[in-house]
Symmetry: D2
Subunit: 130 residues, 4 copies
């Protein structure tokens, strides 16, 4: 499943070159992943209420082209096969056909002490993604 | 009591004009107020643990001159006389003698339901500021 | 003319209370004003190419209620009568019928030296708003 | 040469978990690299005046532990051997002895058209780092 959102670059997201600042893509990617989780029915608030949360363990982000204020961007999000305590998302940011950035984002579920852990039953992405 | 902090403008805080984005001053001012509260011994974590928190009710911010990446800024913070459920801070951002921005920030303590309320004993700025 | 945009609160815009951070509304308001200017046909890039730009001179922002991640917000923007070198926008952020925040934003056109100045012919909001 | 800066986590940099948002580290790392470039005497403004600028081509960031408001962090920055059109920085964010995050940041110099290019004489990190 490839999930797609659209967004418009806001002026305050651009730096003194007039480019979207490179940290802002990390925000965009997080927003897209949350929309993905909503779309597949992942009960994020339930996970937190159960005493767990998710953390980003590793981020790899390749910048291909700059983006500018008012650009209409699409962000594609795909989830790789979940592993015992987490998984990875593949994400691509495009403007039309052009690739602006590509990312791999590794995440895991942690317990209240911050230890990576298997998510409780009903909060497993595996089932949701089948 | 006039509390002063210093900070250096970071490049990502500047917008496509090369100016510090006007929203970033609001971040700077919050940072300065928190440092003020630390300096006067206000037990912010205790307030939250007791089921209260503070909110900003109103912000008035006059922009006098632009600031740029690497500028060394000072932020002066003074607390006005606290009122029953809150008070106001006067803040001035300067670069050397130049005034960059001036702000009045009205805040209040709220309870867990978000209702403005008198802070519990021991969390009253009034005593701290005497 | 009352211009309206919609946006969804993104998770990274929320602070440790789970509320939209109070500085983020300033970003939202800027985004809404830029969309307003696009909608009325204001040639912002032309203004910059002509050696002028706009600055925010004063911001008054009243916070009425908190907003949270995933909230769907609307932002209404109205321009007051332009003055010689600038004007003021009235903006209201709502979630459904609830008012989240209300703002008055004073702006002016400045020349390359940063001096407030009358905008060149063709870049006057007055004509656009009639 | 290992360059070190210190900074204090500001409250608005924390998300609804009370953790520094994972995108904020990207801002911190940029700030540290700019301070590194100042420290080694790199003429960044001169590079831009000469019609060039630098871009981030690739970012790899591993998150080891969360950081919180008021944490005092240090950021170590080291430059790898520059290559023809760019190079890589190794950066580590610590709180005391604890590693919070580790990053490799690949950058390159581009010309006014955005093409990776060898920087003009006098703007080569190679000489500065010897």
């Amino acid at each position: 499943m490839k999930h797609v959102i659209q967004l418009t670059v806001r002026p305050y997201e651009c730096d003194s070159y007039g480019h979207v600042n490179h940290a802002v893509y990390v925000n965009y990617l997080e927003h897209a992943r949350m929309q993905f989780l909503h779309a597949v029915g992942f009960d994020y608030k339930g996970l937190i209420a159960a005493g767990f949360f998710t953390v980003i363990a590793r981020l790899e982000l390749a910048y291909r082209q700059p983006a500018y204020a008012d650009d209409e961007l699409t962000i594609e999000t795909e989830a790789g096969e979940p592993r015992r305590v987490g998984g990875a998302f593949q994400q691509v940011i495009r403007r039309g056909e052009d690739v602006i950035a590509e990312a791999t984002v590794h995440w895991c579920v942690v317990n209240a002490k911050g230890r990576p852990t298997r998510p409780p039953a009903g909060f497993d992405l595996r089932g949701l993604l089948k």
